[in-house]
Symmetry: C2
């Protein structure tokens, strides 16, 4: 019976809805005989997708948690949508947590403490404390998303950030741009992702024989629109401003385009811009944005498969590093023939 | 002891970390004496914020669920961020669910079946089945977000959509625009929010003595960028295209601006555009977008307070309808003196 409801189960079992609910919730004060009757009715009606009922039968809830630094960043919201879709195809539901990048929150979630029901955790950490994570109980399978410098035992899903950044920079070089700014270099500490992207950027410049001017890589605090706009203003204040800029996120690029616009520059004629993430707005913005597109669907499927593998099959298998694909999507912000933005 | 960890609790109680974890998770196979020792250590060390431990002490988990139709829509991601912040201030954590607008999912969550641990649910329904919702057990406190036509007993938090739409339309009329299109009218069925917004739009036109041309209100399926672009293309194909357009979401407006741009129109000179939601990108897009700004922080705080009131104080109090504020944020897309977009 597709779409069977609590009510149907209650009727079939000859008990109240409340009793079915008690059984489904694992309440212990239900008589064992009643409990068996309800479970039989649940099975007969194929009552589901109800995580709690499944939890009773298998000891697993079918719930996985996805924790990201901030859902307000469209990249993470879009990745979450892909994770939900991938999990659904595999019969699981996803609860999403927004850590705010707080190391204590990230640790709590990585330890499976945010919700005892969850079977596994996908975590995109911003500032997780490696030493603290090493002390975690390893009961809850954990998959880390994104480039990490952590050596803790967990599966990792990432893209080749260095190669992606190199391709983006080569694209700008092929357009004849030589004074290429880069926005997204953090001032405070090395972050694995930005280290990789910076490496790819410098590799491309070096291969083309173009020297890197460190003034073209202003410090940025976070990957936000506001940070992109301020970094762009710094670049536009240079004696020799850039003729192109590679931004480590589309939000940074959005801010950079805005600042260039307010400065009276035309994108791409005066300034070519490449972003990173391929968030949905990049196809609609004026001008539309050339960007590195990580294969979010592949990231999600690799991650969900990895955590399910740990949950259902082999919790002790060696940890793997899984690389999803990426591509450069060329749009108006680097096409001089496109209508002026 | 701030930031006490499982390890600290285990040391203090003289048991293994695994045992502490079992107690915290409510496993029943822990000896009662051991359980008491662990709970004492938890209390002495003020080990928290751990929902599970709190659940043991109070019967409440401190977890509330927020369910939205799609996190990929920035309005919902931004609202989620505000709900998380409001809940955090009040000592609660938030688990987020993306229903995809699926009525079965919405019902499951409204019934508290998605996770037995949660204390209460904030739900922004897209297509919740009223009859089915009426059958839900009312164990889990539920607050509905957004304009609803449901008569089911639950607190509602909303904004005055009719007044907001009227103000947006009056703004366009004051600019001298008379042929005002409207994007966001669904083809299939009346949705409470769009009914209210359409009402405000028509009220403003009527008060100004401007007749409404139904051809200026093309059908739209969803509130996405793609729908905004196609509706705009329909409007631009009219013998007398509009000189302004009011869009029921910023995503629709983003698509409309894009379509106008591809048609060679300048915003706002040829076409003034107003959106709805005040999502972050509207302040950075070129041109920046005039939009109705619902007070998301106030919506979040009203909703969290309402659900906590039900959880902790008076589950049987009469249900309330709470209205948050809104304002019109005027930006370049309706300011003819701004730089051309």
């Amino acid at each position: 019976m597709a779409g069977a409801r609590l009510k149907d189960v209650a009727e079939r079992a000859g008990v109240s809805i409340k009793t079915v609910s008690n059984v489904v919730r694992g309440e212990i004060r239900v008589a064992e005989q009643t409990r068996q009757r309800v479970l039989r009715a649940i099975a007969e009606l194929d009552y589901q997708p109800n995580a709690s009922a499944r939890h009773l039968r298998t000891g697993r809830s079918g719930i996985i948690a996805l924790a990201v630094p901030e859902l307000v960043a469209p990249y993470f919201a879009e990745l979450a949508a892909e994770v939900i879709a991938a999990a659904k195809k595999r019969g699981c539901t996803v609860l999403i947590e927004d850590t705010g990048g707080d190391p204590a929150e990230e640790l709590r979630i990585a330890c499976g403490l945010s919700d005892p029901l969850i079977d596994g955790v996908l975590l995109s950490p911003l500032s997780l404390d490696e030493a603290m994570l090493a002390t975690r109980e390893r009961r809850v399978p954990l998959v880390l998303l994104g480039e990490q410098s952590y050596r803790i035992p967990a599966d990792h899903v990432l893209i080749d950030n260095s190669a992606a950044a190199q391709e983006a920079t080569e694209h700008l070089l092929r357009l004849g741009r030589r004074r290429i700014g880069v926005i997204g270099q953090p001032s405070d500490r090395a972050h694995a992702t930005t280290v990789q992207r910076m490496h790819g950027f410098l590799t491309a410049l070096h291969a083309a024989g173009v020297p890197h001017d460190p003034r073209l890589a202003p410090d940025t605090v976070a990957f936000t629109r506001a940070d992109g706009a301020s970094a762009m203003r710094v670049l536009l204040g240079l004696d020799e401003p850039p003729d192109a800029v590679f931004c480590f996120s589309d939000l940074l690029a959005s801010g950079a385009v805005r600042a260039a616009h307010e400065h009276g520059l035309r994108v791409p004629r005066d300034l070519a811009v490449v972003g990173f993430d391929d968030i949905q707005e990049t196809g609609y913005s004026v001008p539309s944005l050339t960007t590195v597109s990580p294969n979010k669907r592949e990231i999600a499927e690799l991650a969900v498969d990895a955590v399910l593998q740990r949950i259902t099959a082999d919790a002790e298998a060696p940890h793997t590093r899984l690389t999803a694909g990426h591509s450069l999507v060329v749009r108006e912000s680097t096409q001089p023939d496109s209508p002026p933005g």
